[in-house]
Symmetry: C2
Subunit: 202 residues, 2 copies
Amino acid sequence: MPAEAKRRRNRRGEGDLLRRQILEATTVLLAEAGDANAVSMRDIAAAAGVTPPAIYRLFADKEALLRAVIAERFDAFDLHLEQGEAGATTVREQLEGRCRAYLDYAATHPGHYRVLFSATHLGPVEVGASDGGHPGAASFNRLLTAVAACVPAGRGKAQRAFTITVELWSALHGFADLRITKPEFPWPASSVFLADMLERLV
Amino acid sequence: MPAEAKRRRNRRGEGDLLRRQILEATTVLLAEAGDANAVSMRDIAAAAGVTPPAIYRLFADKEALLRAVIAERFDAFDLHLEQGEAGATTVREQLEGRCRAYLDYAATHPGHYRVLFSATHLGPVEVGASDGGHPGAASFNRLLTAVAACVPAGRGKAQRAFTITVELWSALHGFADLRITKPEFPWPASSVFLADMLERLV
DNA sequence: TGTACATCAGTGAACGCGCGTTCACTGATGTAC
DNA sequence: TGTACATCAGTGAACGCGCGTTCACTGATGTAC
């Protein structure tokens, strides 16, 4: 509790400033824990420099808070993949950049990656960005687009692009996830894995 | 508790019979939950038709019990993969059978698969079978052997076989894991995924 | 064959703890007059 | 400029619950005589 500096109470009308502090505290704790169940409302309150009940004026309950944080992390993930394409001059480079960004995000934010892609406890999350449906769906569709751009036109192209995208996504997720859960394994460098994988798939 | 039939107390000297019942109850609950943290000692005791303290005469604590069950599941997993090779006449068929068994185990025992390959909470588990090291290591090494048998001899063969095995394992795990966590996605059939993946990798 | 006794499989009650959440409140801030 | 008051950001204490685990015990089973 008082590891945090003494908080000054927000001024009237500025109570929602705490909202952001709580979101950010939760984000940090989730990154460390890699598991939404391992982060308690008390932990969050302490990290935000506030007592637990203060959270409830801003979020209905723990689930609502987690959903909000996870939605933000999905958006950040999508943005990171988007930025991975920046500077690419060919469709092939775009695809490569996107995949590199995928592995990079998982490697630099393992806790968040696990919360996004290994969680079962929480149902679907509304993502600010896009695609009415599932949060993962947005990323998948963009990856599909990037793959399709690299597949030569012809009969059955859409089918082929879909198959390749599923294989690519599986490989990326498998590599990312196993690296996190089995860090003692002698993994090859992501760049080597990725280059080889793309050569074989596309 | 009394959903279970009234248990008859074991005879003297047969107290260890309960050991198996507890292991099996835990196995069932782990399959349903897919998460060791979501299964309590009280749940286990109730499923075994016994009160919680009875467990402690047979297992030191919850962790010891979970380790024992998980070690058994790793052995079962390895055995399943081994059986996947049965009947194969070529090394390529052996590899294919092993991979098919991998995906098949994950699909038919999703809860156990997740406990084995997505758990972070528990440290390394001693497996009855083999390879002093990590439990996953045994499976990996056997997969590596199966892949190596399909890779033509030549300079750098070992290196190539290792790379391919990492890629294959990543793809298998990614596909298996995502199928479990995102069941609403329009996954292609495992057999199609596998055939295509092997064609591309080997 | 019968009885006293030691063994041991399992029970019932309780422990201390951390959890999500609720409730009545406090006291600083801004507003009305 | 000064005071009474409403607002609202946040607190302190407590709730009921489920958890892993411990402890003193009970009572059926087998053994010794």
